[in-house]
Amino acid sequence: MSAPGPLPAGTRVRVKDDWPEARGPAHIRTPHYLRGAEGVVVRHLGAYPNPEDLAFARPAARRALYHVAFAQPGLWQQGVAGDEVLVELYEHWLEVV
């Protein structure tokens, strides 16, 4: 993402439907069940060295980390309307919808 500053709270985002683990060894902090899902940015949590590189002892650029909320029933086709799942996600996994 090339946004100049952190995404503001309320920004609608989609988690990339990407599967790096299918291409080779990978360390990923984006849970499977969220790939392709749409959610809303709740808060910018700061910037941290990218764990996907840290895990392989590669130089790790700092990436913005967000708390993103997802409607819980939408993820599983079950559950109670209004319930949410709140997840920490790095900027390079998010596309602004």
Binding site: P31, L45, L65, G79, D83, E84, V85, V87
Partner: protein, 192 residues
């Protein structure tokens, strides 16, 4: 002999000596961290929660910056992941899980309980949180929204439960005695 069969204390001494020799960590730094790790227990989190229940300005600081609030009451946080605090309210109940592994706010709750790392807990917390809560005997009032917090990255999250009714006039020490680790993960709620 494999690493798993090695005498733990001898291995510890050998690794400590190597870390010191290479200038990575001194024996006293390791001893300090070891003492902090041993001291970490749900009692630390309970102290934070009880303080928040009895001190509105501490509560505000704790919600804004859990790490700073923990340090303020003498919990060592240096070098540890940032601590975030999730406030349960009459509208929202938080439940913490780490679906990827076992991220847990160890500085304030100690080692995670065995079930926190189980595949069953991790899968069901995100998929059927209300079913899971019911099995813990946690029944939320109607209209309360469940917010499952999947701890996937650099933060560690603890729950600030609601102060139970019937505790008016209790001091912080007595309130802290009510709290169990599950209350600060959100599988249970404290009661009198």
């Amino acid at each position: 002999m494999s690493l798993l069969e090695t005498d733990g204390e001898r291995l510890f001494e050998a690794v400590s000596a190597l870390l010191a020799e290479r200038g990575i960590a001194t024996p006293s730094e390791i001893a300090t961290r070891r003492a902090a790790t041993d001291a970490a227990s749900p009692g630390q989190g309970a102290r934070m929660v009880a303080r928040a229940w009895t001190d509105a300005s501490f509560r505000a600081r704790m919600l804004a910056d859990g790490t700073a609030a923990a340090e303020e009451i003498g919990i060592p946080m240096r070098g540890l992941p940032p601590l975030g605090v999730l406030e349960n309210t009459a509208e929202t109940h938080h439940l913490v899980v780490c679906t990827l592994c076992s991220c847990y706010p160890r500085a304030v709750l100690g080692y995670p309980p065995f079930w926190f790392k189980s595949a069953g807990y991790r899968a069901r917390a995100v998929r059927d949180p209300r079913g899971l809560l019911a099995e813990w005997g946690t029944h939320l009032a109607s209209g309360v929204k469940v917010r499952v917090v999947d701890s996937t990255a650099d933060y560690r999250w603890m729950v600030l439960p609601m102060r139970p009714a019937g505790t008016d006039g209790w001091d912080a020490a007595r309130l802290a005695g009510l709290l169990r680790e599950g209350d600060m993960i959100g599988v249970t709620v404290p009661g009198v």
